[in-house]
């Protein structure tokens, strides 16, 4: 069960509406390395994790990613606020206007809709934790690209917060991966769906 908290994890502000920037930021909403992908990936992978600790970590990081998805949505909402149809055309984002008006939609910067193909679950703890670490790095790099291209200090404050969270999540997933590997080094073999003592 999840409970909604009527607040953002961190304040989201913009200096002024900016459709070109909104079009870039939207990839962290519905793009391959965005926050929807992240939250669904972790919350889904927890069912096949071997340790209670790993189930907790995936639940907690997956939940935090949902809060990040809401921050990105708030950011796009504010960057688009007040834009006219003409503004969308001039920003080269006429597809957004035509198909979604001011509504949000799960796409990347190129308009490609979100797909479950962006996320994986092999059911193997090493494979899945390594995928999670790679995902955090891809999200970190994407935030760096966005920050490098944005000169709105308010937007960058939000993007830097989200960037920092990717670094922390990577650290925690790495610690969990070490634990699984140490457990395997003590003659425990992943045998399909569970660990067994090797003979």
């Amino acid at each position: 069960m999840w409970i909604y908290e009527k607040k953002l994890e961190h304040p989201v502000n913009v200096s002024c509406p900016n459709l070109k920037l909104a079009k870039m930021v939207i990839t962290q909403y519905g793009g391959p390395d965005g926050e929807l992908s992240a939250s669904l990936r972790y919350i889904n992978q927890r069912y096949s994790m071997p340790f209670d600790k790993a189930k907790a970590l995936l639940t907690d990081i997956g939940t935090e990613e949902m809060a990040h998805m809401e921050m990105i949505a708030a950011l796009v909402y504010k960057l688009v606020d007040g834009a006219s149809p003409r503004d969308f055309v001039e920003a080269g984002w006429e597809g957004q206007w035509t198909q979604h008006d001011h509504g949000l939609f799960w796409t990347d910067t190129n308009g490609v809709p979100w797909s479950a193909k962006y996320i994986a679950c092999l059911g193997d703890p090493i494979t899945d934790l390594v995928e999670d670490m790679a995902a955090e790095q891809k999200a970190r790099a994407t935030y760096e690209h966005l920050i490098a291209a944005s000169d709105d200090e308010c937007v960058n404050d939000t993007l830097r917060f989200l960037w920092e969270r990717e670094v922390v999540h990577f650290q925690r997933f790495g610690e969990m991966l070490n634990e699984v590997q140490e457990y395997m080094a003590k003659c425990n073999v992943w045998n399909g769906h569970k660990f067994e003592k090797s003979k």
């Binding site: 909604y4 009527k6 961190h10 708030a74 504010k78 925690r172 634990e179």
Partner: protein, 84 residues
């Protein structure tokens, strides 16, 4: 609505919740760290107090029975988080 006061109270809550989130994730991989656990419990207590103060002024923060409401049902009142 006194927006500045609401934002200030919200910021204090966000700061303390950030402390709790960070310690929560740390404790997930370091469950025997007593010092971190003590800090987490202090943060959790501070959050409960800050939430009560915020909700007394601006209505329920959580749905489904985790916050109380005055009459009429306050949950439906804006502004919503992305509008603040």
């Amino acid at each position: 609505m006194n927006c500045e006061k609401q934002l200030a109270m919200l910021k204090r809550l966000q700061e303390m919740e950030f402390v709790a989130i960070e310690l929560n994730l740390y404790l997930d991989t370091h469950p025997c760290d007593e010092e971190a656990l003590n800090d987490f419990n202090c943060a959790a207590e501070a959050i409960m107090k800050l939430k009560q103060e915020y909700e007394a002024e601006y209505g329920p923060l959580m749905n489904f029975g985790f916050s109380l409401s005055k009459s009429p049902w306050q949950w439906v009142e804006g502004p919503w988080p992305w509008e603040i």
